[in-house]
């Protein structure tokens, strides 16, 4: 597949044009990823309602039946279940890493094994999050290992 990047003339909007004979799974996957990246999530903090950009979220965590999104700017409640987030962004870098958390793989600085047989991910904002052993295979798959 040929990729062409053109600079629009001044005053023109940025746009993506897909020129293909058939909309196969590969193209549909790319389109879904582009759409997901553009779709925002609604975050709630106290009385404020904020639009969250998915790729800026470090991780989601479920605590007492509520799901929170951790971003560089704060922690927001998102009124969705973890499995709904997984379904909404299948082509993004989100990955389930335990029963109660989804991490943005792009925000992982490094991982290391820890004492209790699990792995720990150090995120780029210096937060640590636990990766259950059973999800390590999925992480490797996501990274193409």
């Amino acid at each position: 597949m040929k990729i062409i990047i053109e600079t629009p003339k001044s005053g023109q909007e940025d746009e993506i044009i897909v020129r293909c004979r058939t909309l196969d799974d590969k193209v549909l996957g790319l389109l879904a990823a582009l759409k997901a990246e553009q779709s925002e999530l609604t975050g709630y903090m106290d009385d404020r309602i904020v639009k969250l950009v998915p790729k800026e979220i470090y991780y989601f965590e479920s605590v007492d039946n509520k799901v929170f999104a951790y971003t560089g700017k704060g922690v927001y409640e998102v009124r969705k279940k973890l499995y709904e987030i997984e379904q909404q962004y299948p082509h993004m870098d989100f990955l389930r890493i335990s029963k109660s958390a989804i991490v943005n793989v792009a925000k992982i600085a490094y991982i290391r094994p820890v004492f209790n047989g699990r792995f720990e991910a150090m995120l780029k904002n210096d937060e640590k999050i636990v990766i259950s052993r059973q999800y390590v295979a999925e992480l490797k798959k996501k990274l193409g290992i």
Partner: protein
């Protein structure tokens, strides 16, 4: 399926550990021939301890304190299994010296197995970290 895979993994790790300890003991006692059925005894004790280990490893510990308690309980259960098996197989006498020998042997196998498991985990983490760096080198 995962349980079976984990059981096979633990069986291979533990049996290898027991085999190493037996080889050292045989060498120290300068034994010329293996007692009859020893290899079956090693396989059976490996099977039983791997079975219990698979159950212990199936649930992850929430924190460090819980993990330490689980390790201690697991180690104690390994000692009990090996003392009973050892007595049954005629490997030890049920006196203080015999029991201590088995407790130390189990500790050696325990350290060997956990050590090799940790080394594999470190290698796995290194591989993942390398891929993370490659894939997200331009991400802030």
């Amino acid at each position: 399926m995962n349980v079976l895979k984990n059981f096979i993994k633990w069986f291979l790790y533990i049996t290898t550990g027991i085999l190493i300890v037996c080889a050292v003991v045989f060498m120290l006692y300068d034994m010329e021939a293996l007692p009859k059925n020893t290899l079956w005894h090693i396989l059976l004790s490996g099977f039983l301890t791997a079975l219990v280990t698979t159950v212990f490893a199936s649930k992850e510990s929430a924190g460090k304190a819980e993990a330490i308690i689980r390790y201690l309980l697991h180690y104690a259960s390994m000692c009990v299994i090996m003392i009973v098996c050892g007595h049954w197989f005629g490997w030890l006498n049920l006196d203080f010296g015999g029991i201590m020998m088995m407790v130390v042997s189990v500790l050696v196998v325990y350290v060997l197995v956990l050590g090799s498991h940790y080394i594999i985990d470190v290698k796995q983490a290194d591989e993942i970290n390398r891929k993370l760096k490659e894939k997200y080198k331009n991400e802030a």
